[in-house]
Amino acid sequence: MPGSAAFIQFENVSKAFGTAKVVDALDLHVGQGEFVSLLGPSGSGKTTLLMMLAGFEAPTGGAIHVDGKRVERLPPYKRDMGVVFQNYALFPHMTVAENIAFPLKMRGVGKAEREARVTRALDLVQLGHLQDRKPAQLSGGQQQRIALSRSIVYEPKVVLMDEPLSALDKQLREHMQLEIRELHRKLGLTVIFVTHDQGEALTMSDRVAVLNRGKIEQLDTPSGLYDRPRTRFVAEFIGETNLLAGTVSARTDGVATVVLANGGSISCAAPDGFAIGSPALVSIRPEMLHLGNDPAVLNALPVTVEDDVYHGDHVRVHLSCQGQRLVAKAGRRDVVLPVGSQAFASFNRDDCTLVAP
């Protein structure tokens, strides 16, 4: 977390539309210069959270601080935040340059200065040659970059992005992800980025807040989320995982032994909590499962190969382990076992984690 702590603070923030609680007593701290993604399925409250920060929705409870000031009663035009909207919201009747100059004009910046800053902002996204075009004459990627440069030209405290890349095709989207990251680094922007695309969240963010039903399930670095999911929702929402239900039978500091519901026992890295006797799920990512014939290694599960599906860079092997379906990813150089063969799927103690059921 670079910069000073808690540049943006959500304290116990709630938002209800009628009886529906969209955001539920939520806390979130974001540091200055940080890139935080809000990730969640639709209806999880991520856009509402962003809209409350931007000033388009008022919280029904709690407080929001930005840079030490309470903002939740300020109208949007007094908050000094850059917002990049879904579908960009470029003004169709203004040229590219006029669009970018708009926030400066609203702030009473003089004409000469305005022009200079517009030129700089356009150079930043390498679209200086398009300044006299109307938005309708631009490609999707160009519009996206113009929207981006319009939202940073006045050096706002925070840049908020509401699924800004969802309208672009895959290749362009990946390119823009890199470009936004680079802008973030180069300008030291504080960015709150809403997305429902986990890949996007993982590649771009310093930290990701996974939202579910108005609450933050887990706020962590991308690798923390992927390798150490704390809840079943996060484990299943981020990437793909195999979940084995069981009961903690023994534990030491950081390691627990879990007796599986369908027999067998597993040794597994475990976060705090999970006392002996408590139910738990063991989460193992498919790429951590190794197939072999040796039953003697640690954490070996007897499996039958149900199907091999070729995916180009890897092969997905569908397994059944005493009635439960598992998925393993085999590299191109791994031995592929034929369908119907018996084998053992094994994994390291540190490659799995316990999550609450």
């Binding site: 969209v22 209806g43 856009t47 509402t48 929705e57 008022a58 109208p75």
Partner: protein, 281 residues
């Protein structure tokens, strides 16, 4: 989408702004609807004055409509002329809409603009021209003359409505019908015409309502024998305002809306889809 409240929901500013919006909306709606609402009850007044508070209720003014020679005749005339103008304009208008549909006719755009001109040309101007023409053609003070004159004014409504419903037909449906073995006439009869029918009927209703409401051209081309209901209303509004006018207005409103309801009813009161509420996720 337009100006949502400039203030955050729930703040005093937003409440005041909301109150102003509500008051303004209510005032304009009252301005728009008050005349329609105010004239209808007066059709049932017992008094000889068109004022509130009204006495009654009574049907005496409807009796006047039904028994007074002038009113009775004007109602019959309106029905004759309205029906004639509706049939004439619907036939030529629908044919033209079909012909213009695919823009195959040269100067389609210009033709369409000219066909809509009767809606724009001031009625008095057209009336003068018609009066001169009819004097030469011997059509003055004839039913045919009035019917034709009304039909000219009705054509744009038919054209607009039929063109609208034709434009909304998915061309794939007609292609599908041909691929299923229907020759062009069968495609037209079984696919195009049924799908265009709502537009044709709506156009016909608007045509009839237009004829029913027409005064100016009628003043120029009709003789005493072709006095229509609207013409009669206009005369009594100028000379002696009596509640018979309200009764006639009642008849016109009920007639127009009943026809409109029959034709448009289904779509008018069907819950509207695709109307998104302001974004709030």
């Amino acid at each position: 989408m337009s100006a949502a409240s400039p203030n955050l929901p729930g703040t005093p500013g937003a409440l005041a702004f909301g109150a102003v919006r509500l008051a303004f909306g209510a005032l304009v709606v009252a301005f728009l609807l008050l005349p329609l609402v105010a004239i209808l009850p007066l059709a049932f007044t017992d008094s000889v004055f068109l004022t509130y508070p009204m006495s009654g209720p009574s049907l005496r003014w409807f009796e006047t409509l039904a028994t007074s020679d002038a009113w009775k005749r004007s109602i019959v005339n309106s029905l004759i002329i309205g029906s004639g103008a509706t049939v004439l304009s619907t036939v030529v208008g629908t044919l033209a809409a079909l012909g213009l549909r695919r823009e195959l006719v040269p100067f389609s755009g210009v033709l369409r603009s000219i066909f809509l001109l009767p809606m724009v040309v001031p009625a008095v101007v057209l009336g003068v021209g018609m009066q001169i023409l009819y004097a030469r053609m011997g059509l003055a003070s004839s039913y045919l003359g009035v019917i034709v004159a009304h039909a000219v004014l009705c054509v744009p409504f038919v054209l607009v409505n039929v063109s609208g419903s034709l434009a909304s037909i998915d061309p794939a449906l007609e292609k599908a019908a041909s691929s299923l073995g229907a020759p062009p006439t069968a495609v037209f009869r079984n696919v195009t015409l049924p799908l265009a029918m709502p537009g044709i009927l709506t156009g016909a209703v608007f045509a009839f309502a237009t004829s029913l409401d027409e005064v100016v051209i009628t003043l120029f081309v009709a003789g005493p024998n072709q006095t229509t209901m609207a013409r009669q209303m206009f005369a009594s509004l100028r000379e002696n305002i009596s509640p018979a006018i309200a009764a006639a207005a009642f008849v016109i409103i009920v007639l127009t809306f009943a026809l409109l309801l029959v034709v448009k009813g289904a779509s008018l009161f069907r819950p509207q889809r695709n109307k998104q509420r302001p974004q709030q996720t």
